[in-house]
């Protein structure tokens, strides 16, 4: 690993070997997978679908009962 001898003024400011920097920062091992939170709309979709289903079912039952009553009345 070559290092630029002119890049430091004293021994204390001499750059550390790359392997040591890597060891200190822990990049030589396998990196744990970064967990990224994604937006989850499944609950909203579920509510909407359920609501639409209930409304449609109510309309269907209302129409069905209306038709049944009309038939019985006639």
């Amino acid at each position: 690993m070559q290092q630029d001898t002119l890049s430091y003024d004293s021994l204390d400011s001499r750059p550390l070997p790359k392997w040591l920097i890597d060891q200190k920062s822990g990049v030589t091992g396998y990196q744990p997978e970064e967990l990224v939170m994604k937006e989850d709309h499944s609950l909203e979709i579920s509510f909407i679908v359920t609501g639409v289903f209930i409304v449609l079912l109510a309309i269907f039952i209302t129409l069905y009962l209306n038709k049944k009553h009309k038939n019985q009345a006639s």
């Binding site: 204390d12 070997p17 392997w19 040591l20 030589t28």
Partner: protein, 262 residues
């Protein structure tokens, strides 16, 4: 046919899992061939028969090491000389063939190679300045760190004076691991592993127990692709005899104490 495919898949999976759990020190010893040095004889165009014979003998003598010999004509040079290069970096200049005696091998290098082939984790080579006060401070730190390490028994500590006559080629190679080391009059600690690969050293006040433990951690780490693709260090010139090393002693320690493997 299906059985064969199944077996192949199992073997491949076993190989992949083995590759992932092999430790850095063992993986480098088994798989990473040492880089080649170049010894170049620079001359002005005319080479006498006696020098040709001398160079042929020299080339034969060093052929079993990680070095190749070349002869190059250059009109601008004042007189012929030998130049030692590694990966395009100039290391040393030698006026005569006598100066090259012991270039590729020496007693201490044989000892280091023998330790690596015996399955040791690494050799920690302490390069002394011959300033007693400076040398002892770093050496005490080194011994203390080795004693407190669970891997201490599989690490060999060797000492060498940078002014050693017998090992002057070895000392010179170590001082060429980085461009500026020759100008730094401080004790240095080289971690040597694999096929005689020397890590960039800890030096002077950088020889601390913490840094020594980090060096040991590097050697005992699982060999990730990140490490394989960007191996640090410089291969030291030595006889190229790395066939059939002993099983890494590290494996037994980790098998007995799995918590040390993480």
């Amino acid at each position: 046919m299906k059985k064969r495919k199944f077996l192949a898949v199992i073997l491949l999976a076993a190989f992949v899992s083995l590759a992932c759990t092999t430790r850095v020190s063992e993986w480098v010893l088994l798989n990473s061939a040492a880089h080649q040095y170049s010894l170049i004889y620079f001359h002005k165009g005319f080479v006498s028969e006696s020098v040709k014979k001398q160079n042929q003998k020299l080339a034969e003598g060093i052929s079993s090491s990680n070095i190749q010999f070349k002869s190059v004509s250059r009109q601008e040079i004042a007189e012929p000389y030998y130049g030692l290069y590694y990966e395009g970096r100039f290391f040393s200049k030698y006026k005569t063939v006598d100066d090259l005696k012991g270039l590729t091998s020496s007693p201490l290098r044989k000892k280091v190679a023998a330790e690596l082939m015996a399955g040791k984790l690494c050799v920690m080579l302490y390069l002394k300045t011959d300033n007693k006060e400076k040398d002892e401070k770093g050496l005490n730190t080194l011994h203390s760190a080795i004693e407190s390490s669970p891997f201490g028994k599989i690490i060999t500590v060797l000492e060498l004076s940078r002014n050693s006559r017998e090992e002057h080629h070895f000392a010179s190679l170590l001082l060429n691991v980085e461009d500026d080391l020759k100008d730094i009059q401080e004790p240095m600690l080289f971690g040597i592993f694999g096929r005689f690969k020397a890590l960039e050293p800890l030096l002077g006040r950088g020889i601390t127990e913490e840094n020594i433990h980090l060096m040991i951690d590097y050697f005992t780490a699982e060999c990730s692709c990140l490490i394989k693709d960007d191996l640090p260090g410089t291969d030291i010139l030595a006889p190229d005899q790395w066939e059939n090393p002993q099983t890494a002693l590290l494996n037994k320690i980790i098998d007995d104490n799995p918590s040390l493997g993480y």
